[in-house]
């Protein structure tokens, strides 16, 4: 088990470094002028050679790539992440200010996806081909196809239409005003949660069906346990491992989805900051936020792997 943990952590670190190299390559080495990203095509055409050199030097873009990369890594390690082109705010400040909102959305959405997804799967498994099963399967197929940000826009329209209501647009931390905070956080969390729930329900259903066919579950049934108890006691715990793993993979879905969904709701979180940075071509902010998102994704998946390993006696007792 310890060897497994050590290996997972070392590979995780390697992956984070690899990820930083990939994003650095995308930002600096791909055939695209970094100043094109900053100034846009019109601005670039007006630029004189001298101005250009000055800009490049000011931004530290004229140094050798390896120096730029190491400087960036130093900024990351020191926790400042560098500063935005257009704002005085450092990326670290931005993360501290906006991050909690996005983290809340992600957390609520995962909780919601389990609260919705698992019961739906249980209905499908306990009453196969019933009306409930059919509806559940149809909804899970539908929610795999609906873009979350569009659902978000529809929710806003519906709330305005029926209740004349619009969630607050300012960043209110939970501890200051929990009710207003929840009004900001819950709608995007619901949208992202339902999208995930579709995947969770699908996976939990097939995982449960597979486990139910195993001999030890048949034995439990043969002993005379009711179908419900068999599923609850024997099948569910074992069927959950792949669902937990899927939940980790779906973090990618949440992190990625949070950007357009936050834009749809105008939620002042990190996803919205990413949207703005991409449109302002603020490459330092984009570079750092992309790195942050990928690192969070990697770390969460390591934690999930370790959790499932711990839950699985075959790995835990190794």
């Amino acid at each position: 088990m310890y060897a497994y943990i050590a290996r997972r952590i070392v590979f995780g670190l390697l992956t984070v470094i690899g990820v930083s190299i990939v994003i650095f390559v995308v930002m600096r080495v791909l055939p695209g002028d970094p100043l094109l990203a900053v100034l846009g095509p019109e601005g670039l055409q007006k630029l004189s050679d001298a101005d250009r050199a000055k800009y490049m030097a000011d931004l530290g873009l004229s140094d050798p790539l390896i120096v730029q990369y190491l400087r960036w890594m130093r900024d990351v390690a020191s926790g400042t992440f560098g500063t935005s082109f257009f704002r005085s705010e450092s990326v670290a400040d931005m993360i501290v200010r906006r991050g909690p909102l996005t983290a809340e959305i992600a957390l609520f959405s995962v909780v919601l996806s389990w609260i919705v997804g698992i019961p739906v799967a249980l209905i499908s498994v306990l009453r196969p081909n019933s009306f409930g099963d059919t509806i559940a399967r149809f909804l899970s197929i539908l929610f795999l196809a609906v873009p979350g940000f569009w659902v978000g826009m529809l929710i806003i329209l519906a709330m305005l239409f029926w209740f004349g209501y619009r969630p607050p647009l300012t960043n209110i931390p939970f501890w200051e005003d929990p009710w207003s905070n929840l009004q900001i956080v819950l709608p995007p969390a619901i949208v992202l949660g339902l999208g995930q729930a579709a995947y969770i329900a699908r996976m939990a259903r097939s995982s449960l069906l597979e486990v139910i066919r195993e001999d030890y579950v048949r034995t439990a049934r043969a002993k005379g346990l009711s179908g419900r108890l068999v599923v609850g006691l024997h099948a569910l715990p074992n069927a959950m491992l792949p669902v937990i793993t899927l939940s980790g993979i779906l973090m990618g879905f949440v992190l990625a989805g949070s950007v357009p969904v936050e834009r749809a709701f105008a939620t002042p979180g990190l996803g919205y900051a990413m949207f703005i940075a991409v449109n302002e071509r603020d490459i330092f902010v984009v570079q750092n936020l992309v790195f942050l998102y990928a690192s969070v994704f990697v770390v969460l998946n390591i934690l999930i792997d370790l959790t499932t390993a711990w839950l699985d006696p075959r790995i835990r007792l190794q």
């Binding site: 390697l14 992956t15 984070v16 690899g18 990820v19 190299i21 990939v22 994003i23 995308v26 930002m27 791909l30 055939p31 695209g32 094109l36 990203a37 095509p41 197929i141 539908l142 795999l144 196809a145 609906v146 873009p147 940000f149 569009w150 826009m153 529809l154 329209l157 305005l160 239409f161 995947y199 699908r202 996976m203 097939s206 069906l209 899927l246 973090m251 990618g252 879905f253 992190l255 990625a256 989805g257 950007v259 357009p260 834009r263 749809a264 990413m274 949207f275 991409v278 449109n279 071509r281 490459i283 984009v286 570079q287 992309v290 998102y293 990928a294 994704f297 990697v298």
Partner: protein, 302 residues
């Protein structure tokens, strides 16, 4: 069932669904076995036809402004209403299918194919090359796909080609990993070993014995990723890093609706989004059907 019988059943499945047969009598079997998938296949085909003959179907040119009707709800003249500069939403939705489908299909074909060949080589040759390839794929897969696509699209500058490249890159690891695992299991099969015993060259073993068996998983992979690619394309458009306006795409139409007033008019939200959902639904369900038909062992998996 003994191993030998299982093997035989699988072999039969493989042969029954060999490409040639599927094109003829297979289509009828497909319709009979899964009428739902066939129905959605027809919808998908209709959407593709719509994209091709868009100029014939669209009642107005997609960029033409009707200054007498700006931000108008659906009427008899404009079934899906108009946007803030009087462009016909129905026409724009019809034309939007072109961008969406072209980008999604090109990106998936490009990315999955590249990944598939990479996975083929990586699985076949193994060793250090495989190790390094695996790590690179893992790095690429460590990005939430839309996030990576956004960064690439921004770095390359918005445009038709860059959106395709951005989405394609996010598809590479999926193609690579699936095909690699197929190749690894094929390498264990005795007939590949037997070909080596005959003196067959690497090229021959790959092209004659391994590649043909990768076609079914490749097709399944490609169709299931079409839906994802369509959603990423729409999201990029919505976030302002997709195909730039004025060319209509479903994503940038939705983004545009946010500029049409404090409250976006419902018809500018409903129709482009509905088009995305319907298209993704059609391709996903068609993909499920193809997967079930080509590879019964994958049935029921997500």
């Amino acid at each position: 069932m003994s191993d030998a019988t299982v093997q035989q059943v699988q072999d039969e499945a493989v042969v029954h669904h060999s490409l040639l047969r599927r094109m003829g009598g297979g289509l009828r079997t497909f319709v009979r076995r899964s009428p739902m998938s066939a129905f959605w296949g027809v919808i998908a085909a209709l959407i593709i036809v719509m994209a091709i003959i868009a100029p014939v179907l669209a009642p107005y040119p997609p960029l033409k402004s009707d200054f007498r009707a700006m931000t108008k709800a659906p009427t008899e003249r404009h079934w899906f209403g108009t946007d803030q500069i009087g462009r016909d939403t129905l026409s724009r939705v019809i034309y939007g299918s072109r961008a969406s489908l072209t980008v999604a299909v090109s990106a998936v074909v490009l990315g999955t194919t590249l990944g598939a060949f990479w996975g083929l080589a990586s699985g076949y040759f193994g060793g250090r090359f495989d190790l390094v390839s695996q790590r690179i794929m893992e790095f690429l897969q460590s990005f939430p796909d839309l996030i990576l696509a956004m960064a690439i699209a921004m770095a390359l500058g918005a445009g038709f080609g860059t959106v395709i490249v951005a989405i394609a890159i996010t598809r590479i690891p999926f193609g690579g990993r699936v095909i690699r695992s197929v190749v690894l299991s094929l390498k264990e099969r005795a007939f590949v070993e037997a070909a080596r015993g005959l003196g067959a060259s690497h090229t021959r073993m790959m092209l004659r014995h391994i590649l043909p068996q990768c076609i079914a998983p490749y097709l399944v992979l490609a169709t299931t990723h079409l839906g994802v690619a369509i959603i990423i394309e729409a999201s990029l458009g919505f976030l302002g890093v997709g195909i730039p306006p004025p060319q209509p795409t479903w994503g940038n139409m939705l983004a545009d609706s946010l500029n049409a007033g404090l409250i976006p008019p419902w018809w500018l939200v409903l129709f482009p989004g509905g088009a995305i959902t319907l298209t993704v639904l059609a391709f996903n369900l068609l993909g499920d059907g193809i997967r079930d038909a080509l590879d019964p062992r994958l049935r029921g998996t997500a």
